[in-house]
């Protein structure tokens, strides 16, 4: 009771009384808060003047501050301040800092780059970001690829060759791998025989009789596999025809299949369906020659370089 009484004495009211006794407490905001609020208003006004702020007609109020930058065409432009131009300026500065390294890359032969500890460090870091930006979408972050879609770049098997020159050629011009669908010319038994033969080449469990028949078929004019995969089935890198005798599989998911039957079935699928998805785009019009050179050395260093 006494506390209530004290409150009514000490708390200010707005001074008005409605309906005789209805009053309103006056609880002003703390002074520091009010002044902080005023300060933010002043700050906003200053900000509006200096930086781009309001839409105006078809454009916007640009602010008093200008920014000069060099765009991708090499033209020097001046524009009212904006973060995009700032970003371009920053990127240009970073490019200038990187230039000595890229110049060195351009001037040095591949082997020399790989042997220089400094340059090797640059390749590992710059190559990694270039790879992540351009290549990892298909070949995955570590270059391990995806069976059935994109070749593994970290093993020692190359469809088109793993030398610096061949890697460079692949990067610059792109590649297009193709294998016809043999279900058009062969019956199911023949495809099965061929699949067993191919399995036998890599030491996978197979039916020996079918494999012998598949061997004959492989080297016959009916299937004519040897045209591209060669007589001993080791493939031709100039055509991108893979080596069938090793343990590396790209199109048929042999490592992923559990039983011998399903491994053979996976090979069968590739033979009857053929392939036309082995496409690597050309990078010469997207990346600079130095970037392509960095990537060449980087991919070579991923482990399988020849």
């Amino acid at each position: 009771m006494s506390e209530q009484k004290l409150q009514s004495q000490t708390v200010q009211t707005t001074g008005h009384a409605w309906d005789g006794d209805l009053q309103e407490y006056n609880n002003p905001l703390p002074v520091w808060w009010v002044y902080t609020f005023y300060a933010t208003v002043v700050f906003a006004l200053v900000y509006w003047t200096i930086y781009p702020s309001w839409p105006f007609g078809k454009g916007w109020i640009g602010g008093v501050s200008d920014i000069t930058y060099v765009n991708s065409e090499g033209e020097t432009k001046t524009h009212s301040w904006n973060t995009r131009a700032l970003f371009i300026t920053d990127m240009n500065e970073a490019a200038v800092a990187q230039k000595p390294y890229f110049d060195k890359v351009a001037a040095m032969p591949y082997e020399q780059i790989a042997q220089d500890p400094d340059m090797s460090g640059f390749i590992i870091s710059a190559g990694k970001s270039l790879f992540a930006e351009n290549c990892a979408a298909c070949h995955q972050a570590g270059g391990q690829g995806v069976i059935g879609f994109f070749p593994n770049l970290t093993d020692d098997d190359w469809l088109y060759g793993g030398s610096y020159e061949k890697l460079h050629e692949t990067l610059v011009g792109g590649r297009r791998g193709y294998m016809p669908a043999f279900s058009e010319v062969l019956n199911g038994d023949q495809v099965d025989q061929l699949a067993n033969y191919v399995a036998s080449l890599s030491g996978i469990g197979h039916d020996a009789d079918k494999a012998v028949a598949g061997d004959v078929l492989f080297h016959s004019e009916t299937a004519a596999c040897y045209y591209c995969h060669t007589n001993d089935a080791t493939g031709r890198q100039d055509m991108g025809a893979p080596n069938l005798t090793d343990n590396i599989w790209l199109w048929a998911d042999v490592p992923g299949a559990r039983t011998a039957e399903s491994k053979v079935a996976a090979i069968r699928g590739v033979i009857s369906g053929g392939l036309n998805k082995g496409v690597m785009p050309a990078w010469s019009d997207r990346l600079t020659p130095e970037q392509i050179k960095v990537l060449t050395v980087y991919v070579h260093e991923l482990g399988g370089g020849q």
């Binding site: 000490t10 042997q115 500890p117 090797s120 590992i124 391990q144 970290t154 343990n247």
Partner: protein, 504 residues
């Protein structure tokens, strides 16, 4: 009624300005020597030369762009961050240890807030005069004198703050070059911004806010309070002696003592020493007979207090334990010929005992001994770690994308990235070898030997290729990094080997 009082007063109280009186004594001398020593170290250290081959000749230089910290003969790299962590732990334990023994000694004598405030008050004192003069100046309306004196004080404060800020920046770059660049406008933006921030914060904290930092802002003062124990020495007013049964009392006029009191404000006169010794004892006996305490209520202990408290109200959270009131009270007691120690360092336990003994440090407590031992162990480990650190740092990372590669002949390959940082002062060649796998299995590409400049690091890609049978049996192996010609410094890293079908 408490609520009502709070409503009336409000939660905010305007700062009551504090004008401290200067005082002489043991604790003042100690405070001043700590101040001089700390300032000498802080302000002069960046200017101490130290010849180096590959870095500016500065004894203490935190080279942020170079990612290294040069401290005299020692070069610390970011990899040694554990030392910093350890140092912070040691500092924390030292604070707990000291607080348990002698209370907030850190606050009173060593804290930079106290040091800078003390220095700023000294400047204020030199320009505006002793306490009464400063109070008068504060009360008088703005005129030429006040403008010059107050303006001059603030100008000097800002100058001192600026030099504090610039000195801080000088730890991060070559000091003479910094000062030159700073004046000619060529220093880095970070240097100007840092100096500006520290100038402003020093000026605000030591010049304007002062004890408010300790009272309202600083968490250390708060949590040090809970570390006090009954045995902890702290600045105490001996209330039993000071108040007697009737309370404290001013020395009454006409008793001859008032003369002494007037003189007490100045130096103690030699002639009084002989005569007043007995007079003081007589007066004391007279007071005690009447039940009056020894406190003469001169108020000097309040006037010298930098946080503006009355220690006679008892131990309180605002007290930073600086001992100036002890000095003040002892001066007065001396001048009256009363025994010293009415305000003194003592423990709560001792003060409460029927017959207080001479105050002393009680360290034979589990907490204190425990902190002490932790302190010794941690410091010993830090010294050991600094003294025996290797000349190089290494990190071996297995490449996880992919964890393993099956090669065309069925072999399994794992790849590793090895980063070696040379911490030695000269270039060094490192050799990498492996144990636990066939010698031919390790392939280091072009870098079976790698030469690294001092303070630099190099990345080496290594791959290990094992036939499937061997791979299935190899869970892990050892990589050995040996500085060429210093086989004793070789370091071994255990690394995993992954193969298909293996479960981790």
């Amino acid at each position: 009624m408490q609520t009502g009082l709070e409503d009336q007063l409000g939660l905010y109280q305007k700062r009551i300005p504090i004008f401290t009186r200067s005082v002489k004594g043991r604790f003042r001398r100690f405070k001043s020597s700590v101040l001089v020593l700390a300032y000498a170290i802080y302000f002069l250290l960046p200017w101490l030369p130290w010849s180096r081959l590959d870095a500016p000749a500065q004894a203490v230089l935190f080279d942020l762009p170079g990612r290294r910290f040069l401290i005299f003969g020692l070069t610390v790299y970011p990899q040694d961050v554990i030392w910093l962590a350890l140092l912070l732990f040691i500092a924390a334990i030292l604070l707990f240890f000291v607080t348990g023994l002698v209370g907030r000694a850190f606050c009173g004598y060593f804290c930079f807030q106290t040091l800078w405030t003390d220095f700023f008050i000294w400047i204020e004192h030199r320009i505006q005069g002793e306490r009464p003069a400063r109070v008068r100046l504060y009360r008088q309306p703005w005129n030429r004198e006040k403008l010059i004196k107050v303006g001059g004080t603030h100008a000097l404060w800002i100058l001192a703050s600026f030099w504090t800020g610039l000195t801080f920046v000088a730890y991060f770059t070559y000091a003479p070059q910094l000062v030159f660049d700073f004046v000619t406008g060529q220093a880095a933006a970070a240097a100007y911004i840092t100096t500006g921030i520290i100038t402003l914060s020093t000026y605000a904290a030591a010049g304007l806010m002062r004890e408010q930092i300790c009272t309202y802002v600083c968490p250390y003062g708060r949590f040090q309070s809970v570390m006090y124990e009954p045995e902890t020495l702290a600045v105490h007013y001996d209330a039993r002696r000071g108040e007697g049964t009737l309370g404290r009392a001013v020395v009454r006029a006409g008793r001859g003592i008032v003369v002494e009191r007037r003189r007490a404000e100045g130096a103690v006169a030699e002639e009084r020493r002989h005569s007043s010794l007995s007079a003081g004892q007589r007066a004391l006996a007279e007071r005690r007979e009447k039940g009056i305490g020894d406190c003469v209520d001169c108020g000097l202990c309040v006037q010298v207090c930098p946080v503006g408290i009355d220690i006679r109200d008892g131990l309180q959270y605002k007290c930073i334990s600086c001992g100036l009131c002890v000095d003040a009270c002892n001066t007065i007691m001396d001048s009256f010929g009363f025994p010293r120690g009415l305000i003194r360092y003592d423990s709560e336990k001792n003060l409460a005992s029927p017959a207080p003994a001479a105050p002393k440090v009680h360290w034979k407590r589990l907490k204190t001994v425990g902190y002490g031992m932790a302190l010794v162990l941690m410091s010993a480990y830090l010294v050991y770690s600094v003294a025996t650190r290797g000349n190089f740092d290494r990190a071996v990372n297995q490449i996880r994308q992919p964890l393993y590669v099956v090669l065309s002949n069925g072999d399994i390959r794992n790849r590793y990235q090895i980063r070696i940082t040379n911490k030695a002062s000269q270039e060094q060649t490192y050799v990498i070898s492996a144990r636990g796998i066939p010698a031919a299995a390790l392939d280091l590409g072009n870098f079976s030997k790698v030469a690294i400049k001092s303070g630099h690091s190099a990345l080496v890609q290594a791959s290990v290729r094992l036939p499937p049978v061997v791979a299935a049996q190899t869970q892990q192996f050892e990589l050995i990094i040996t500085p060429l010609g210093k086989s004793a410094e070789a370091r071994t890293e255990n690394v995993r080997f992954d193969a298909p079908g293996k479960r981790p």
